[in-house]
Subunit: 411 residues, 2 copies
DNA sequence: CTGAAAGCGCTTACAG
DNA sequence: CTGAAAGCGCTTACAG
């Protein structure tokens, strides 16, 4: 535990902290304020988490401390946080706080030797800027909220990881918000995040409340939309055409000679429904669309549900020769349930999934699916947002990253 | 887009916002400040994301706005954020900002009618408190960082969801930090989160750098450790005995008559190694421990790897009659790979997993595993942290939530 | 029960 | 290139 005395401050007599008084790190540096140098008695002290041990000198008091302020010049009892502040750093470097601030942020021209001195002092004191103070003064935080529907889909975890890797090196901190596919919940999160003056925003898809849309626009916070594409010119997005991807998979099934192709879906979020549209478009064009072969469940997607959907579909339509599942977990569940149901895949029924999640390649038979570019979506959205936060205008407002049909044994 | 004029403030002439001047929401309420009521000319205005439409009256200016300050009394050009502040609410409710603050926070005794008036005004103005200002003034935010090793393990996602459900109703916001099992990364995250003056902290396990431990202690921020248990009296934790759980599973395999029991693990994080200890302890007690049957890979855990570990183990030790995998994804991979390798489960080799992840019950054969109480861990840790943040001392500093052996077809 | 003053720790906007 | 003043939007600590 490392401690210091608050310079020019009176504080509560340490009830919470051990009754020891430590020499000021500033004194150790030989740059302490006058009153420290003169040995003012300290009434209490606070813990300095950021202080490296090398800057500490322990000075034990002879007996229990009988705190009484020596200085009564203070007009009123101030609060003290005990934290190392910019002022401490500035004093240690013998510059003004503004110069210290500029030196640390690399802003404007500061004399190189001053920059070095400030950097040194900050390092020695273990100074960590207060993000709250910074946000308040600058009206801008370094926070970038990323709103995703859920974390239980590896899809979004992959996107989040990539976004994090893209933004962290530039000093931004991502803030993960989970909407559970609920526009109301998203609106609440947005309100709460907007109050934090975020530097930027990453949102999943375009489906949200009008209220949310308005607040977003009104806030002026740069925002990039994930997973989908749009033709609207005033919106930034990175994704791929969910509809085209759905269509592509169904075309593959048609190419394989299947004609009674079912669509099984859960969750029914906007992107799932877009894939459904692709399914319909493709089958209509081929003249084999049958609305009865769509099985849409609003339940959450899961391996277990996939097996149930398979059973239901084949029970009702024994002539089905292929099933396109809107997500890999459902398809995996179908593959696992098939042997128990006495269904041969792909001979009797071909099974296709979507997203190429973990385990799909290992299934028996291995799962034909659509590989979606979630890592690239994370990277590119971070890059686009970075540009927007710098005030630049990205070359394109909407990036279509495509997808990849991945044919394996199940079709 | 909703706007207002800044009261008592001069601002940049709207370059970013349309050149319209809107009537102040305060005026609409009939509680505007004197200068507004007298029709002071507005130089510019800002966007108010929080303002409900009902509070807005659009007043278009006749022509392009030729901004020139009427009032030159202001000593210097101030900054204006255009946000609805506590002062706005206070003015609308005709109380002082302090009273408004207290009324909104439900702190101390404020006259009920005043509370109502303030609440009303806040509602009408769509006031959202500034968390940065609040944190700065109170030295305490409502943020609760939760540090987990990764998000790609459903285990931690479940814990996070439960923690969120436990803390959100009390006004705390969780902040997800991913350490990637790297103590250095955790230390960095901790430093950055500690600077935000978090209300509390949730950490996974006890394995961290000394530096991190010190900063943690020095910060005085209430902290609960997840997933593991300890006998140390000064530490708060909610979890279960990983070692006992490992031991329990191996005992089950012994009970089934298996004697050549292998242990296959990946990631090798502290909890995995504790399970390994349980495995060893149990087999040593039974007199059938063989160090050669341990296959420890530092790779990340995955379905694919599980199949590889199975193949390796049986290649090297064809006499193995059971394998305990440290995590379900590995065990699932083994079950999926077994048919391709010509291995019959459980007749030839029994397969056991750990955690009861999604899909384990659907495997063929279904997977015997240990169900871990991650939801309860999330709930109870939130409850314990809540108590600590209120300054209370929880009855027990360490909660052991146990685990449940779940026997299915694979053993 | 209510409020005026001061302060939290930074940065902006000026001025030199 | 450097700094004194003011301000960001709240709450604490007093005083009544």
């Amino acid at each position: 535990m490392t401690t210091k005395e608050p310079s020019k401050r009176r504080t509560d007599i340490g009830q919470r902290y051990p009754k020891r008084v430590l020499k000021s790190p500033l004194q150790s540096l030989g740059v302490g304020p006058a009153e420290s140098a003169q040995g003012t008695l300290f009434q209490g002290f606070h813990v300095l988490p950021q202080l490296p041990d090398s800057a500490i000198l322990n000075v034990l008091l002879p007996g229990p401390f009988s705190g009484k302020p020596l200085s009564t010049a203070l007009p009123r009892r101030p609060r003290a946080s005990g934290r190392t502040t910019l002022a401490d750093v500035a004093r240690a470097a013998s510059v003004s706080p503004i110069t210290a601030s500029r030196a640390l942020r690399g802003e404007r021209a500061v004399a190189p030797d001053l920059v070095e001195r400030v950097r040194q002092a900050a390092q020695t004191l273990g100074y960590v800027p207060d993000p709250a103070a910074r946000a308040l003064a600058s009206q801008r935080s370094t926070l970038v909220p990323v709103l995703v529907p859920l974390l239980s889909n590896a899809l979004f975890v992959d996107v989040l990881e990539a976004v994090h890797r893209g933004l962290a090196p530039h000093g931004y901190q991502i803030l993960i918000g989970v909407t559970h596919y609920d526009p109301q919940e998203e609106e609440k999160l947005l309100t709460s995040y907007l109050a934090m003056r975020p530097a930027g925003l990453l949102l999943t898809g375009f489906d949200r409340t009008d209220e949310a849309r308005q607040r977003l626009a009104a806030s002026g916070v740069p925002c990039v939309h994930l997973m989908e594409t749009t033709r609207a010119p005033d919106v930034y997005c990175v994704g791929f055409s969910q509809q085209d991807a759905g269509e592509r998979m169904v075309q593959h099934l048609l190419d394989r000679g299947h004609r009674r192709i079912a669509f099984a879906a859960a969750q029914l979020d906007p992107r799932t429904l877009q894939r459904a549209e692709g399914y319909r478009r493709c089958l209509r064009a081929a003249g084999c669309y049958d609305a009865g072969l769509e099985l849409l469940s609003s339940e959450a997607s899961s391996v277990r549900l996939g097996g149930e959907l398979l059973a239901q579909l084949l029970d009702k339509h024994p002539d089905i020769d292929a099933i396109f599942f809107c997500n890999d977990d459902l398809a995996q569940g179908a593959l696992l349930a098939a042997p128990r149901l006495g269904i041969r895949v792909p001979d009797q029924v071909a099974v296709a999934g979507f997203n190429d999640l973990a385990g799909s390649a290992e299934m028996l038979p291995s799962l034909t699916t659509v590989r979606t570019p979630r890592q690239a979506i994370g990277e590119e959205s971070a890059r686009m947002l970075l540009a927007l936060m710098r005030g630049e205008t990205p070359a394109r407002n909407c990036m279509d990253l495509g997808f990849e049909l991945t044919v394996r044994e199940s079709t």
